[in-house]
């Protein structure tokens, strides 16, 4: 049944051993088929161990103490920042700001950069394909700053309508913020072209990399992003941790986001001076264990190889796309497998996505059902919700077969 080569399958079988949770069963003894990686990925043993060791052996606050533990914790935490910088090819670790996740990274840009650079008459361009995390922060600051928010439309095939860009980008556009890989339609957006079009009108570019960094090699300098945001928990790391990369001159042109400890150089009762990059944007005690965990996740992914991860997911999604396309009444949202990342959102005629997810769950298969925090995109398709299977490095073609068998079962039950 499988079209995947045996070398790939052997590698996947070995990688699965690294993830303790994949050994468990659900729904009364069914093997777990975890296909909700778009929501969050599972964590390998090495990440769990790194975080556990921090609490057992080095637990101390960072950047403060002169004692041994604090120095060790700081070295590990800052070591993680350096690993992340190398992973995305940032010119310097000082341009890697740790946040709580993609959502906080984009909020940071909206509040700190937005307050300094946006006002009435300005425009921020986003797309209909965005996750709520790249819509709602702009709507909130828009009320305070008075700029106009515009949207690039999505074609019925789930691609950005590039023909519409001419009418949307102008010298008024101060920022073009778009998703790298859609969490709903899976589309891999043509970053080079989008960045070039933004540059032509002098706009800054923010790329939401929540669904790209975990699944493919990303080079922020090659992409020429002014801002690039992503989350730890979708790339084998812990929750509560994320990254905002930005160009140095852009970061220096921004006031701080939150105020507090660690982000200041000098505080008097009259005022304060800000710390250097990246600490200017990191107020308060950070998520230290989570930062160290992200560092371990980066180590893990680099050892596996991001090109392998992407190739593996490409094979899986092509196989799943083929099998699901054969099903009558099943509608896949978005483009063909050659233009998408490792996820497939779909609807099944006569079966609500919630019912699909519940029936799949009873067979051990975890998928997402709902609007995937992208309600405007679902509105474009005229549907309230969809079901989504999203793959990662540990998924197999056999698991795709379990998925499609369970979908047939759901269809039978409701016919």
């Amino acid at each position: 049944m499988s079209t995947m080569s045996s070398a790939v399958l052997d590698r996947t079988a070995a990688l699965r051993q690294d993830f303790p949770i994949l050994q468990r069963t659900v729904a009364g003894g069914m093997p777990l088929v975890y296909l909700d990686n778009g929501a969050t990925s599972q964590k390998p043993e090495s990440v769990l161990r790194a975080m556990d060791e921090y609490y057992r052996l080095y637990n101390a606050n960072v950047h403060r103490g002169v004692h041994t533990l604090s120095e060790e914790a700081t070295a590990l935490y800052e070591g993680a920042r350096a690993k992340v910088a190398r992973f995305i090819n940032a010119p310097s670790a000082n341009q890697v700001i740790f946040t709580r996740g993609t959502t906080e990274s984009i909020n940071l840009v909206a509040y700190a950069w937005g307050r300094a650079h946006l006002g009435p008459g300005d425009e921020v361009l986003i797309t209909e394909m965005e996750h709520h995390a790249n819509i709602v922060p702009w709507q909130i600051v828009q009320e305070q700053l008075g700029f106009t928010l515009r949207y690039v439309p999505v074609t019925p095939r789930g691609l950005l309508d590039l023909d519409a860009l001419d009418g949307l980008l102008s010298e008024k556009t101060k920022l073009f913020a778009f998703v790298h890989v859609s969490n709903v339609v899976g589309t891999i957006n043509p970053v080079a072209e989008l960045v070039a079009r933004a540059r032509a009108v002098g706009a800054k570019v923010l790329i939401d990399g929540a669904q790209s960094v975990p699944h493919m090699a990303v080079d922020v300098q090659a992409l020429d992003a002014d801002f690039f945001a992503f989350s730890s928990h979708k790339m084998c790391g812990p929750t509560g941790m994320g990254v905002l990369y930005a160009k140095r001159d852009v970061l220096e042109s921004m006031p701080p986001f939150m105020g507090g400890g660690d982000m200041i150089r000098e505080v008097t009762m009259v005022g304060s001076k800000w710390n250097s990059l990246p600490y200017k944007f990191e107020a308060g005690t950070p998520s230290i264990a989570e930062g160290i965990g992200l560092g371990a996740a980066v180590d893990y992914l680099q050892a596996v190889g991001m090109d392998w991860v992407q190739a593996h997911e490409q094979e899986l999604v092509a196989y799943a796309y083929g099998r699901m396309s054969e099903m009558e009444g099943l509608r896949i949202l978005g483009p063909g497998p050659d233009q998408r990342g490792g996820l497939i959102s779909f609807t099944l005629e006569g079966v609500h996505p919630h019912d699909i997810a519940a029936i799949l769950d009873s067979r051990g298969v975890a998928v997402r059902a709902g609007h995937h925090c992208a309600a405007p995109l679902h509105a474009c398709y005229g549907i309230p919700a969809s079901a989504r299977a999203s793959f990662y490095l540990y998924n197999t073609a056999q698991e795709v077969d379990v998925l499609t068998d369970a979908l047939h079962k759901a269809q039978q039950m409701f016919s």
């Binding site: 609500h352 996505p353 919630h354 019912d355 029936i359 039950m413």
Partner: protein, 128 residues
């Protein structure tokens, strides 16, 4: 959990062949509610005489649990007094469904009761 435990035949039957689905002419009570989490929608309409429901209808879209519950509830409600309906709670719906239900899907199951009770109590909208 087996899928049979999740979707009894009666629930699937109500979902595929909903009873009392549609609209009433000049209903005495009309209430619309939705669950933003999954997009389930329910509109409930009642004709009332002397404090007793004499006709009921629902319209809506959503998962099998939310739509089947609405259908079962509308079928049951005709002939019942508003005072009795006001006493119905979560347990009443779970008895009606006859399945175990997790916390997330409980919202689907309770949507039509929520709309019904808001309508019966004469609320303009559900209090936050």
């Amino acid at each position: 959990m087996s899928t049979d435990a999740l979707y009894r035949e009666e629930i699937l039957d109500h979902y595929k062949h909903p009873r009392q689905k549609g609209h009433l002419e000049n209903p005495d009570i009309h209430y619309h509610d939705h669950n933003p989490f999954c997009g389930d929608e329910i509109t409930i309409e009642l004709k009332v005489e002397d404090g007793v429901v004499i006709d009921a209808a629902f319209d809506g879209r959503g998962c099998a649990i939310s739509q089947a519950t609405a259908s079962m509830l509308m079928e049951e409600i005709v002939g019942k007094s508003l005072d009795e309906i006001k006493t119905w709670d979560k347990e009443h719906i779970l008895d009606l469904l006859g399945i175990e239900i997790g916390p997330v899907r409980l919202k689907c199951a309770l949507l039509s009761l929520k709309a019904l009770k808001a309508g019966v109590w004469g609320l303009e909208e559900w209090p936050e």
